[in-house]
C-alpha cells in the first residue's frame, strides 16, 4: 500500500532529509501496525473476545443499573440509562483493552524481536506509533460495534454522526494514553506479571472515578473533584455531550484538546522509556 511512498523515499535523494526521515517513520509505523493487526487476525478467539466483551458489558451494565436513572438528580439528557452508559462502556473498553498493549513488547523482549528491531533502522518512535495505532484501530472497531448493539437495543443518539465521530476520537485518544502507559510500564518493568498487575491496579479506579457508569453529581464530593482531573472522565463527558441533543460544545472541545495533548505527551514519554530498556540489556 505504501510501496510507492517507499520508492519515492529511497529514490529521490534531493528530497529534504527531514521529510524523508518523516516518510520513513510513517512507513515503518504502518508496517508495524499491519504486523499487529495480522497477529490479531490470526488469533480468532482473542479477536472475537475483544469484540464480544464490550457488548456484554453494555448489555450487562445497561440492565444492572437501569433504575439509577430514577434517582432524583440523575441527569441522562434523554432519559434512557442505555444511552447514558453507551459512551461510558465505549471509553471503558478502550481503557481496558489498551491496558494490555505492553504485553506485545514483553513478548518481543522475551524473544529477540525487540533487540532485532532496536538494532535496525526502525526508529523507537515508529515502534511506539505502530503499537498505539494498532490499539486505536481496535478501539475504533470496538466503538462502532458497541454503537451498533446500542442502536439495536433501542438507544438513540441525537448528536448524530458528529456525536459518533467525537466519541470515536475520544475513545481512540484514551486508548493511545493507556497504551502508552502500558508500553512504558513494559519497557520499565520488562515482566508480564508486573505489567498486568500495575495496569489492572490503575484501570479500575480510573474507570470508577469517572461518570462512565454513574452520574458523578450523585457521588461523594471528592469523587466529583477527582473526576475533573481524570482523563477517562474527559473522554466520557465529551462523548456524552456530543451525543446528546443540545450539545454544549464548550464542554467538548477543551476536553478533546486535553486528551490530545495528554496522548501526545504520554506517547513521547513512553518512547523515552526505550532508553531505560536499553540501559538494562
Amino acid at each position: 500500500m505504501s510501496s510507492a511512498l517507499a520508492e519515492a523515499a529511497t529514490s529521490t535523494p534531493e528530497l529534504p532529509a527531514r521529510r524523508r526521515e518523516r516518510g520513513r517513520l510513517l512507513q515503518h509505523s504502518v508496517y508495524l501496525t499491519a504486523r499487529s493487526l495480522r497477529t490479531l487476525w490470526r488469533q480468532p478467539t482473542f479477536a472475537a473476545m475483544t469484540l464480544i466483551a464490550p457488548i456484554i458489558w453494555l448489555l450487562l451494565f445497561g440492565q444492572l443499573f437501569r433504575s439509577v436513572v430514577h434517582i432524583p438528580g440523575f441527569s441522562t439528557g434523554s432519559g434512557s440509562y442505555l444511552e447514558f452508559i453507551t459512551p461510558g462502556v465505549i471509553v471503558m473498553t478502550a481503557l481496558f483493552s489498551s491496558g494490555w498493549a505492553g504485553t506485545v513488547y514483553i513478548d518481543d523482549m522475551n524473544r529477540g524481536v525487540m533487540d532485532r528491531l532496536l538494532a535496525s533502522p526502525v526508529r523507537r518512535g515508529a515502534m511506539m506509533i505502530g503499537t498505539l495505532a494498532y490499539q486505536a484501530v481496535t478501539t475504533v472497531v470496538q466503538t462502532l460495534i458497541v454503537f451498533g448493539v446500542a442502536y439495536i437495543s433501542g438507544a438513540r443518539f441525537r448528536g448524530g454522526v458528529v456525536g459518533i465521530v467525537v466519541t470515536i476520537v475520544a475513545a481512540a485518544l484514551i486508548s493511545v494514553i493507556m497504551a502508552s502507559f502500558s508500553n512504558a510500564l513494559a519497557l520499565l518493568l520488562r515482566q508480564q506479571e508486573a505489567l498486568i498487575g500495575v495496569s489492572q491496579f490503575i484501570v479500575l479506579p480510573l474507570q470508577f472515578l469517572s461518570s462512565a457508569i454513574m452520574d458523578t453529581r450523585l457521588s461523594p464530593h471528592w469523587v466529583q473533584h477527582v473526576a475533573r482531573y481524570n482523563p477517562v472522565d474527559w473522554a466520557v463527558v465529551a462523548s456524552r455531550q456530543a451525543l446528546s441533543a443540545g450539545t454544549e460544545w464548550g464542554a467538548v472541545w477543551p476536553r478533546l484538546g486535553f486528551l490530545a495533548a495528554l496522548a501526545a505527551a504520554m506517547a513521547w514519554l513512553a518512547t523515552r522509556a526505550f532508553r531505560s530498556y536499553q540501559a538494562s540489556i
Partner: protein
C-alpha cells in the same frame, strides 16, 4: 558512507559495567576488550558464559553503550552515528528473533521492507534466501511451528535479508541438536561464497570456533586473552598434548610431581581426574612417563597423545580447562 580501508569491525578498549546485586560492587562485563575483524571473514569470540561475548555484540550492534572505549562498524562510530551502523548490520541474537505469528516469508519480507527494500526486491530476496536455507516448503508456515534448527536458520536468513556488511551471530547453535548444528554450520560456512559479509560469531563451543572461524579471540573476564587463526594458536603450542587418565584422583598430586620431572614434558596441569602435559614429541615421552608412574605404583587407566586442540590453547592461556569453565 563506509570507508573501504577500515576494518569491518573494530573495538578498542571497551569497558562495560552493570550494577551488582544489592551492596555488591558493579559487575565488570567488559574490561578493555579490543578486536578487529576484516571484511568478508568470520571472527569468533570464544569463551564461557559470562565472559562478556554478548555484551561486546550488544555494544557493536548499537543496543548498549560502553562505559568507555571506542567501537566502529565499517568505519562508522557506533556511539556517534548508531543509525548509520544499523543500516549495515544484521543481528541474530541468542534468542529466537522471528515473529512467531508471522510466516517465514512474511518475517523475511518485513525485515527487508524495514531496511528500505522495495516490495518486489524484498520478495525476490526472501525467495532466494528461503531456497538457500532449504526453507521453501515451510515458507508459508507460522514461525512458531518451526523446529529449533529451522527457526535458527530463519533467524540467520532474516539477519541477511538486507545484505548487511556485518552479521552478528550470538551463540547461533546453542540448544540445537547435533544434526541441526551441523546443518547450520554448513550454512554459515557457505556464507562467504554468497554474501560479502563479515561475521562476528560468539560461541562457547570450541569445535564451532575451530570449524567456522577464520580468526578467533579467546575471551575471559571481559578481555581478549589471545587472538589468532585456529591453526596459528594450535601451532604456537608446539608438539603434542599428552593426556593421562589415572584410576584414582587421589594420585593426581604425586603424579604431577613425577611428570614435571620427565624430560620432554612441560606445562603439566590437572583437569579433573586426568593430567595433561605438552611434549615436543608425544611418542617419545610416553614410555618414560608410563615407567615413572609404574615405579611409583600409580595406576593409569589411559594415555592419549594428540595434536593440540583449541581446548589446549584455552588451557594454556587461561590457566583452566575450557570444559571445566564452560
Amino acid at each position: 558512507m563506509s570507508d573501504s580501508s577500515s576494518p569491518a569491525l573494530s573495538a578498542v578498549d571497551l569497558v562495560k559495567t552493570y550494577p551488582g546485586a544489592r551492596g555488591k560492587p558493579r559487575i565488570r562485563a567488559l574490561d578493555g576488550l579490543s578486536i578487529n575483524v576484516q571484511a568478508g571473514t568470520v571472527f569468533a569470540l570464544l569463551g564461557p558464559n559470562g565472559a562478556g561475548k554478548s555484551t561486546a555484540v550488544k555494544i557493536l550492534a548499537t543496543l548498549s553503550r560502553p562505559d568507555s572505549g571506542h567501537a566502529s562498524v565499517a568505519g562508522i562510530d557506533v556511539l556517534r552515528d548508531p543509525n548509520g551502523v544499523r543500516h549495515i548490520i544484521g543481528l541474530v541474537s541468542q534468542k529466537a528473533s522471528s515473529d512467531p505469528m508471522a510466516t517465514a516469508r512474511e518475517n523475511l519480507v518485513l525485515a527487508g521492507r524495514i531496511h528500505g527494500m522495495s516490495s518486489s526486491s524484498a520478495r525476490a530476496r526472501a525467495a532466494d534466501l528461503l531456497s538457500r536455507f532449504a526453507l521453501d516448503e515451510a515458507a508459508e508456515r507460522l514461525a512458531k511451528t518451526f523446529s529449533g534448527g529451522m527457526a535458527r536458520k530463519l533467524d540467520v536468513a532474516i539477519g541477511l535479508m538486507h545484505r548487511p556488511q556485518v552479521l552478528f551471530l550470538d551463540e547461533p547453535t546453542t540448544g540445537l541438536d547435533p544434526q541441526a548444528r551441523t546443518e547450520l554450520w554448513a550454512e554459515i560456512d557457505r556464507l562467504s561464497a554468497h554474501e560479502d559479509v563479515a561475521v562476528l560469531l560468539t560461541t562457547h563451543y570450541l569445535d564451532e570456533a575451530d570449524q567456522l572461524a577464520d580468526r578467533l579471540a579467546i575471551v575471559d573476564h571481559g578481555r581478549v586473552v589471545v587472538e589468532g587463526t585456529p591453526e596459528q594458536l594450535k601451532a604456537e603450542l608446539k608438539g603434542d598434548t599428552v593426556q593421562v587418565e589415572l584410576a584414582t584422583a587421589e594420585a593426581i598430586p604425586g603424579a604431577m610431581v613425577l611428570l614435571s620431572r620427565i624430560a620432554g614434558l612441560r606445562d603439566v596441569a590437572s583437569v579433573g581426574a586426568s593430567l595433561r602435559a605438552r611434549a615436543s614429541s608425544g611418542a617419545r615421552a610416553v614410555p618414560s612417563l608410563l615407567s615413572a608412574l609404574e615405579d611409583a605404583d600409580i595406576a593409569v587407566s589411559s594415555v592419549t597423545v594428540a595434536r593440540p586442540s583449541l581446548d589446549d590453547v584455552y588451557l594454556h592461556h587461561v590457566g583452566r580447562s575450557f570444559e571445566v569453565a564452560a
